[in-house]
Amino acid sequence: MQAFYEYIRDGRIKIDPAKKMKEPVTYQDPCNISRSGGLWEEARYLMNAMCEDFRDMAPNREYNHCCGGGGGYIPMGPQFRKRRMQSGKVKADQIRETGAKVVVVPCHNCFDQLRDLSAEYDLGIQVMHFKTIIPHVWDLPDHLKPPNEEAN
Protein backbone atom coordinates (compact mmCIF):
# COMPACT_ATOMS: atom_id res chain seq x y z
CA MET A 1 0.00 0.00 0.00
CA GLN A 2 2.83 2.36 0.88
CA ALA A 3 4.20 1.49 -2.56
CA PHE A 4 0.92 2.25 -4.38
CA TYR A 5 0.72 5.52 -2.50
CA GLU A 6 4.21 6.45 -3.57
CA TYR A 7 3.59 5.44 -7.19
CA ILE A 8 0.57 7.69 -7.45
CA ARG A 9 2.00 10.52 -5.34
CA ASP A 10 5.19 10.58 -7.41
CA GLY A 11 3.35 10.25 -10.69
CA ARG A 12 4.85 6.86 -11.56
CA ILE A 13 1.25 5.83 -12.11
CA LYS A 14 -1.19 8.44 -13.33
CA ILE A 15 -4.90 8.41 -12.62
CA ASP A 16 -7.33 9.38 -15.37
CA PRO A 17 -9.85 11.69 -13.68
CA ALA A 18 -12.53 10.69 -16.18
CA LYS A 19 -12.22 7.05 -15.11
CA LYS A 20 -12.56 7.66 -11.39
CA MET A 21 -15.13 5.49 -9.64
CA LYS A 22 -18.50 7.20 -9.52
CA GLU A 23 -20.41 5.07 -7.03
CA PRO A 24 -20.10 5.63 -3.28
CA VAL A 25 -17.05 3.87 -1.88
CA THR A 26 -15.84 3.33 1.66
CA TYR A 27 -12.55 2.11 3.05
CA GLN A 28 -11.95 -0.53 5.68
CA ASP A 29 -8.96 0.32 7.91
CA PRO A 30 -7.37 -3.05 8.67
CA CYS A 31 -5.98 -3.28 12.20
CA ASN A 32 -2.59 -4.42 10.98
CA ILE A 33 -2.26 -1.59 8.47
CA SER A 34 -3.93 1.32 10.22
CA ARG A 35 -3.79 0.97 14.00
CA SER A 36 -0.67 -1.19 13.95
CA GLY A 37 0.82 0.03 10.70
CA GLY A 38 0.30 3.77 10.77
CA LEU A 39 -0.81 3.94 7.13
CA TRP A 40 -4.26 5.49 7.36
CA GLU A 41 -3.64 8.85 5.65
CA GLU A 42 -1.93 7.12 2.73
CA ALA A 43 -5.06 5.03 2.25
CA ARG A 44 -7.24 8.12 2.17
CA TYR A 45 -4.93 9.75 -0.35
CA LEU A 46 -5.38 6.72 -2.60
CA MET A 47 -9.12 6.60 -2.06
CA ASN A 48 -9.57 10.24 -2.99
CA ALA A 49 -7.34 9.76 -5.99
CA MET A 50 -9.41 6.85 -7.27
CA CYS A 51 -12.98 7.63 -6.25
CA GLU A 52 -15.23 10.59 -6.62
CA ASP A 53 -17.52 9.71 -3.74
CA PHE A 54 -15.36 8.44 -0.88
CA ARG A 55 -17.22 8.08 2.42
CA ASP A 56 -15.35 7.25 5.59
CA MET A 57 -16.74 4.87 8.18
CA ALA A 58 -17.20 6.05 11.75
CA PRO A 59 -15.08 5.48 13.75
CA ASN A 60 -12.15 5.33 11.36
CA ARG A 61 -8.38 5.42 11.03
CA GLU A 62 -6.54 4.05 14.08
CA TYR A 63 -9.86 3.89 15.93
CA ASN A 64 -11.60 1.76 13.36
CA HIS A 65 -13.19 -1.48 14.44
CA CYS A 66 -11.65 -4.77 13.45
CA CYS A 67 -13.60 -6.43 10.64
CA GLY A 68 -14.08 -9.41 12.91
CA GLY A 69 -11.91 -11.75 10.90
CA GLY A 70 -8.51 -10.82 12.29
CA GLY A 71 -6.05 -12.66 14.47
CA GLY A 72 -6.39 -15.78 12.37
CA TYR A 73 -10.12 -16.00 13.04
CA ILE A 74 -11.09 -17.08 9.52
CA PRO A 75 -8.68 -20.00 9.11
CA MET A 76 -9.61 -21.26 12.58
CA GLY A 77 -12.43 -23.04 10.85
CA PRO A 78 -16.15 -23.66 10.94
CA GLN A 79 -16.61 -24.09 14.69
CA PHE A 80 -16.00 -20.35 15.10
CA ARG A 81 -18.00 -19.25 12.08
CA LYS A 82 -21.25 -18.43 13.84
CA ARG A 83 -19.53 -16.26 16.43
CA ARG A 84 -17.48 -14.60 13.71
CA MET A 85 -20.60 -13.64 11.80
CA GLN A 86 -22.37 -12.34 14.86
CA SER A 87 -19.35 -10.34 15.99
CA GLY A 88 -19.10 -8.80 12.55
CA LYS A 89 -22.41 -7.05 13.11
CA VAL A 90 -20.59 -3.91 14.24
CA LYS A 91 -18.67 -3.77 11.00
CA ALA A 92 -21.75 -4.55 8.92
CA ASP A 93 -23.66 -1.69 10.55
CA GLN A 94 -20.72 0.66 9.99
CA ILE A 95 -20.66 -0.17 6.29
CA ARG A 96 -24.42 0.10 5.89
CA GLU A 97 -24.37 3.54 7.47
CA THR A 98 -21.99 4.90 4.84
CA GLY A 99 -24.35 3.80 2.08
CA ALA A 100 -21.35 2.67 0.06
CA LYS A 101 -21.66 0.15 -2.72
CA VAL A 102 -17.98 -0.75 -2.75
CA VAL A 103 -15.62 -1.39 0.14
CA VAL A 104 -11.94 -1.10 -0.58
CA VAL A 105 -9.67 -3.06 1.71
CA PRO A 106 -5.97 -3.86 1.43
CA CYS A 107 -6.04 -6.83 3.85
CA HIS A 108 -6.89 -10.38 2.80
CA ASN A 109 -8.37 -11.29 6.15
CA CYS A 110 -10.73 -8.33 6.01
CA PHE A 111 -11.46 -9.09 2.37
CA ASP A 112 -12.79 -12.56 3.10
CA GLN A 113 -14.59 -11.46 6.24
CA LEU A 114 -16.32 -8.56 4.48
CA ARG A 115 -17.49 -10.83 1.68
CA ASP A 116 -18.92 -13.21 4.26
CA LEU A 117 -20.55 -10.30 6.10
CA SER A 118 -22.04 -8.95 2.91
CA ALA A 119 -23.75 -12.28 2.33
CA GLU A 120 -24.80 -12.72 5.97
CA TYR A 121 -26.21 -9.21 6.45
CA ASP A 122 -27.31 -8.67 2.86
CA LEU A 123 -25.20 -5.54 2.46
CA GLY A 124 -25.10 -5.72 -1.32
CA ILE A 125 -21.52 -4.51 -1.44
CA GLN A 126 -18.58 -5.33 -3.61
CA VAL A 127 -15.30 -5.86 -1.81
CA MET A 128 -12.15 -4.84 -3.66
CA HIS A 129 -8.41 -4.49 -3.25
CA PHE A 130 -6.61 -1.34 -4.30
CA LYS A 131 -4.80 -3.35 -6.91
CA THR A 132 -8.07 -4.40 -8.53
CA ILE A 133 -9.19 -0.81 -8.94
CA ILE A 134 -5.98 0.89 -9.98
CA PRO A 135 -5.87 -0.79 -13.43
CA HIS A 136 -9.42 0.44 -14.06
CA VAL A 137 -8.72 4.06 -13.29
CA TRP A 138 -5.19 4.63 -14.48
CA ASP A 139 -3.94 6.62 -17.40
CA LEU A 140 -1.26 4.48 -19.03
CA PRO A 141 1.44 5.71 -21.35
CA ASP A 142 0.89 4.41 -24.89
CA HIS A 143 3.63 1.79 -24.96
CA LEU A 144 1.99 -0.06 -22.08
CA LYS A 145 -1.47 -0.19 -23.61
CA PRO A 146 -2.75 -3.40 -25.20
CA PRO A 147 -2.24 -3.58 -28.98
CA ASN A 148 -5.91 -3.27 -29.93
CA GLU A 149 -6.34 -0.09 -27.96
CA GLU A 150 -3.30 1.42 -29.62
CA ALA A 151 -4.93 0.79 -32.96
CA ASN A 152 -7.97 2.88 -32.08
Partner: protein, 250 residues
Protein backbone atom coordinates in the same frame (compact mmCIF):
# COMPACT_ATOMS: atom_id res chain seq x y z
CA UNK B 1 -13.13 -40.42 27.26
CA UNK B 2 -10.28 -39.45 29.52
CA UNK B 3 -9.12 -35.88 29.25
CA UNK B 4 -5.58 -35.33 28.01
CA UNK B 5 -3.08 -34.55 30.75
CA UNK B 6 -2.11 -30.92 31.27
CA UNK B 7 1.60 -30.28 30.99
CA UNK B 8 1.78 -28.06 34.07
CA UNK B 9 5.55 -27.90 33.99
CA UNK B 10 5.49 -26.35 30.53
CA UNK B 11 2.86 -23.82 31.55
CA UNK B 12 4.89 -22.85 34.60
CA UNK B 13 7.97 -22.38 32.43
CA UNK B 14 6.10 -20.20 29.97
CA UNK B 15 4.55 -18.14 32.75
CA UNK B 16 7.91 -17.51 34.36
CA UNK B 17 9.46 -16.68 31.00
CA UNK B 18 6.65 -14.25 30.14
CA UNK B 19 6.59 -12.39 33.42
CA UNK B 20 8.46 -9.26 32.46
CA UNK B 21 7.88 -5.74 33.66
CA UNK B 22 4.92 -5.24 31.38
CA UNK B 23 2.81 -8.21 32.43
CA UNK B 24 3.65 -7.67 36.05
CA UNK B 25 2.56 -4.04 35.99
CA UNK B 26 -0.46 -4.60 33.75
CA UNK B 27 -1.93 -7.45 35.73
CA UNK B 28 -1.42 -5.61 38.98
CA UNK B 29 -2.82 -2.21 38.12
CA UNK B 30 -5.85 -3.02 35.97
CA UNK B 31 -8.46 -1.11 37.94
CA UNK B 32 -11.40 -3.06 36.51
CA UNK B 33 -12.84 0.30 35.52
CA UNK B 34 -14.48 -0.98 32.33
CA UNK B 35 -13.39 1.89 30.12
CA UNK B 36 -12.39 -0.87 27.72
CA UNK B 37 -15.85 -2.44 27.33
CA UNK B 38 -17.12 -0.11 24.65
CA UNK B 39 -13.95 -0.35 22.61
CA UNK B 40 -14.51 -4.03 21.85
CA UNK B 41 -16.61 -5.02 18.87
CA UNK B 42 -17.25 -8.46 20.36
CA UNK B 43 -18.85 -6.75 23.34
CA UNK B 44 -20.86 -4.35 21.17
CA UNK B 45 -21.98 -7.03 18.73
CA UNK B 46 -23.24 -9.31 21.50
CA UNK B 47 -25.61 -6.72 22.96
CA UNK B 48 -23.08 -5.65 25.55
CA UNK B 49 -22.78 -9.10 27.07
CA UNK B 50 -20.23 -8.45 29.86
CA UNK B 51 -18.34 -11.68 29.24
CA UNK B 52 -16.91 -10.11 26.08
CA UNK B 53 -15.38 -7.07 27.79
CA UNK B 54 -11.58 -7.08 27.39
CA UNK B 55 -10.52 -6.93 31.04
CA UNK B 56 -12.71 -9.94 31.79
CA UNK B 57 -11.10 -11.94 29.01
CA UNK B 58 -7.69 -11.31 30.57
CA UNK B 59 -9.02 -12.08 34.03
CA UNK B 60 -10.33 -15.43 32.82
CA UNK B 61 -7.12 -16.36 31.02
CA UNK B 62 -3.68 -14.92 31.81
CA UNK B 63 -4.62 -13.55 35.20
CA UNK B 64 -6.12 -16.91 36.19
CA UNK B 65 -3.05 -18.79 34.98
CA UNK B 66 -0.79 -16.64 37.15
CA UNK B 67 -3.10 -16.78 40.16
CA UNK B 68 -3.25 -20.58 39.94
CA UNK B 69 0.47 -20.74 39.17
CA UNK B 70 -0.25 -22.75 36.06
CA UNK B 71 -1.99 -25.52 37.96
CA UNK B 72 -5.16 -25.66 35.93
CA UNK B 73 -7.35 -28.46 34.66
CA UNK B 74 -7.82 -29.44 31.07
CA UNK B 75 -11.37 -28.15 31.19
CA UNK B 76 -10.17 -24.74 32.37
CA UNK B 77 -7.62 -24.65 29.56
CA UNK B 78 -10.31 -25.45 27.00
CA UNK B 79 -12.37 -22.57 28.30
CA UNK B 80 -9.37 -20.30 28.00
CA UNK B 81 -8.82 -21.46 24.43
CA UNK B 82 -12.38 -20.56 23.60
CA UNK B 83 -11.76 -17.05 24.90
CA UNK B 84 -8.24 -16.48 23.58
CA UNK B 85 -8.99 -17.73 20.08
CA UNK B 86 -12.72 -17.19 19.80
CA UNK B 87 -13.51 -13.98 21.69
CA UNK B 88 -10.61 -11.76 20.67
CA UNK B 89 -9.00 -10.98 17.34
CA UNK B 90 -6.11 -9.10 18.98
CA UNK B 91 -7.13 -5.92 17.16
CA UNK B 92 -5.63 -3.78 19.95
CA UNK B 93 -8.44 -1.25 19.97
CA UNK B 94 -8.89 -1.59 23.74
CA UNK B 95 -5.31 -0.52 24.42
CA UNK B 96 -6.27 2.91 23.09
CA UNK B 97 -9.17 3.05 25.54
CA UNK B 98 -7.33 1.97 28.68
CA UNK B 99 -6.26 4.69 31.13
CA UNK B 100 -3.12 2.66 31.89
CA UNK B 101 -2.55 1.69 28.28
CA UNK B 102 -2.74 -1.99 29.05
CA UNK B 103 -2.11 -3.97 25.87
CA UNK B 104 -4.69 -6.74 26.09
CA UNK B 105 -3.80 -8.14 22.69
CA UNK B 106 -0.25 -8.87 23.81
CA UNK B 107 -1.57 -10.78 26.80
CA UNK B 108 -4.06 -12.73 24.68
CA UNK B 109 -1.21 -13.61 22.33
CA UNK B 110 0.75 -14.87 25.33
CA UNK B 111 -2.18 -17.05 26.37
CA UNK B 112 -2.39 -18.42 22.86
CA UNK B 113 1.28 -19.30 23.10
CA UNK B 114 0.64 -21.25 26.29
CA UNK B 115 -2.41 -23.01 24.85
CA UNK B 116 -0.59 -23.84 21.64
CA UNK B 117 2.04 -25.58 23.76
CA UNK B 118 -0.74 -27.81 25.10
CA UNK B 119 -2.01 -28.57 21.60
CA UNK B 120 -5.10 -26.43 22.03
CA UNK B 121 -4.72 -24.12 19.04
CA UNK B 122 -7.64 -24.43 16.60
CA UNK B 123 -7.01 -27.06 13.98
CA UNK B 124 -7.10 -24.65 11.06
CA UNK B 125 -4.24 -22.65 12.54
CA UNK B 126 -2.27 -25.73 13.54
CA UNK B 127 -2.52 -27.09 10.01
CA UNK B 128 -1.49 -23.79 8.51
CA UNK B 129 1.51 -23.62 10.82
CA UNK B 130 2.42 -27.20 9.91
CA UNK B 131 2.20 -26.38 6.21
CA UNK B 132 4.31 -23.29 6.65
CA UNK B 133 6.94 -25.29 8.49
CA UNK B 134 7.02 -28.02 5.87
CA UNK B 135 6.47 -26.19 2.60
CA UNK B 136 7.22 -22.53 3.27
CA UNK B 137 3.62 -21.40 2.86
CA UNK B 138 0.46 -21.81 4.88
CA UNK B 139 -1.50 -23.66 2.19
CA UNK B 140 1.10 -26.25 1.24
CA UNK B 141 1.34 -24.98 -2.33
CA UNK B 142 4.28 -26.61 -4.08
CA UNK B 143 6.96 -24.52 -5.71
CA UNK B 144 5.89 -26.03 -9.01
CA UNK B 145 2.28 -24.89 -8.60
CA UNK B 146 3.40 -21.45 -7.56
CA UNK B 147 5.65 -21.03 -10.59
CA UNK B 148 2.93 -22.37 -12.87
CA UNK B 149 0.34 -19.96 -11.49
CA UNK B 150 2.73 -17.08 -12.04
CA UNK B 151 3.40 -18.21 -15.63
CA UNK B 152 -0.32 -18.48 -16.30
CA UNK B 153 -0.96 -15.01 -14.94
CA UNK B 154 1.97 -13.65 -16.88
CA UNK B 155 0.47 -14.96 -20.12
CA UNK B 156 -2.94 -13.55 -19.27
CA UNK B 157 -1.76 -10.11 -18.39
CA UNK B 158 0.74 -9.89 -21.21
CA UNK B 159 -2.21 -9.68 -23.54
CA UNK B 160 -3.23 -6.49 -21.81
CA UNK B 161 0.19 -5.06 -21.21
CA UNK B 162 2.84 -5.87 -23.77
CA UNK B 163 6.21 -6.73 -22.33
CA UNK B 164 4.96 -7.65 -18.86
CA UNK B 165 6.93 -10.33 -17.06
CA UNK B 166 6.50 -11.99 -13.70
CA UNK B 167 10.09 -12.51 -12.56
CA UNK B 168 10.84 -15.26 -10.05
CA UNK B 169 14.05 -15.47 -8.04
CA UNK B 170 15.73 -12.67 -9.95
CA UNK B 171 18.93 -11.85 -8.14
CA UNK B 172 19.77 -8.19 -7.68
CA UNK B 173 16.25 -6.92 -8.28
CA UNK B 174 15.38 -3.76 -6.45
CA UNK B 175 12.20 -5.00 -4.82
CA UNK B 176 10.98 -8.27 -3.44
CA UNK B 177 7.23 -8.80 -3.73
CA UNK B 178 5.60 -11.20 -1.29
CA UNK B 179 1.94 -12.05 -0.93
CA UNK B 180 -0.70 -14.11 0.79
CA UNK B 181 -0.92 -17.80 -0.11
CA UNK B 182 -4.65 -17.32 -0.47
CA UNK B 183 -4.00 -15.18 -3.55
CA UNK B 184 -2.09 -17.97 -5.25
CA UNK B 185 -4.69 -20.58 -4.42
CA UNK B 186 -8.01 -18.73 -4.67
CA UNK B 187 -7.44 -15.35 -6.28
CA UNK B 188 -4.67 -15.76 -8.87
CA UNK B 189 -5.99 -12.66 -10.62
CA UNK B 190 -4.48 -10.73 -7.72
CA UNK B 191 -1.03 -11.72 -8.93
CA UNK B 192 -1.77 -10.40 -12.41
CA UNK B 193 -3.10 -7.11 -11.04
CA UNK B 194 -0.08 -6.61 -8.81
CA UNK B 195 2.26 -7.46 -11.66
CA UNK B 196 0.53 -4.96 -13.93
CA UNK B 197 0.80 -2.17 -11.36
CA UNK B 198 4.43 -2.94 -10.56
CA UNK B 199 5.20 -3.05 -14.26
CA UNK B 200 3.37 0.17 -15.00
CA UNK B 201 5.23 1.92 -12.21
CA UNK B 202 8.49 0.72 -13.70
CA UNK B 203 9.42 -1.25 -10.61
CA UNK B 204 12.35 -3.66 -10.85
CA UNK B 205 10.87 -6.51 -8.85
CA UNK B 206 10.86 -10.24 -8.31
CA UNK B 207 9.08 -13.02 -6.47
CA UNK B 208 11.26 -15.40 -4.48
CA UNK B 209 10.79 -19.10 -5.20
CA UNK B 210 10.73 -19.78 -1.47
CA UNK B 211 9.54 -17.34 1.17
CA UNK B 212 6.86 -15.68 -0.94
CA UNK B 213 4.13 -16.20 1.64
CA UNK B 214 4.11 -13.15 3.90
CA UNK B 215 1.36 -14.48 6.18
CA UNK B 216 2.13 -15.75 9.59
CA UNK B 217 -0.72 -17.84 10.91
CA UNK B 218 1.64 -19.49 13.36
CA UNK B 219 1.78 -16.14 15.12
CA UNK B 220 -1.99 -16.21 15.48
CA UNK B 221 -1.82 -19.79 16.72
CA UNK B 222 0.87 -18.91 19.24
CA UNK B 223 3.54 -21.18 17.80
CA UNK B 224 6.74 -19.19 18.29
CA UNK B 225 8.98 -21.64 16.49
CA UNK B 226 7.04 -21.65 13.23
CA UNK B 227 6.35 -17.95 13.60
CA UNK B 228 10.05 -17.21 13.57
CA UNK B 229 10.57 -19.68 10.74
CA UNK B 230 7.90 -18.05 8.57
CA UNK B 231 9.31 -14.59 9.03
CA UNK B 232 12.82 -15.85 8.42
CA UNK B 233 11.87 -17.38 5.07
CA UNK B 234 10.95 -13.94 3.75
CA UNK B 235 13.99 -12.36 5.36
CA UNK B 236 16.27 -15.00 3.86
CA UNK B 237 14.73 -14.51 0.43
CA UNK B 238 15.38 -10.79 0.64
CA UNK B 239 19.00 -11.40 1.62
CA UNK B 240 19.51 -14.12 -0.96
CA UNK B 241 18.23 -11.94 -3.80
CA UNK B 242 19.98 -8.82 -2.50
CA UNK B 243 16.88 -6.66 -2.80
CA UNK B 244 16.67 -3.18 -1.33
CA UNK B 245 13.08 -3.33 -0.18
CA UNK B 246 10.16 -5.67 0.27
CA UNK B 247 6.64 -4.93 -0.88
CA UNK B 248 3.88 -6.98 0.70
CA UNK B 249 0.52 -7.36 -0.91
CA UNK B 250 -1.39 -5.70 1.92
Amino acid sequence: MAEPAVNVKLIKERLAFLKGGRFKAWLEICAHCAYCSDSCFFYLAHDKDPKYMPAYKVKQTLDKLYKKKGEVTWEELEKMADIAYGDCTACRRCSLYCPFGIDVAVMIAAVRGILCGQGLAPKGLQDAAKHHWETGNQMAITEEDFVETCKWMEEESEEEMPGLKIPIEKKGAETLYVLNAREVKFYPQDIAEAAMILYAAGEDWTFPDLGWDMTNLAMFAGNAQVMAHSAKLVYDAAKRLEVKKIITSE
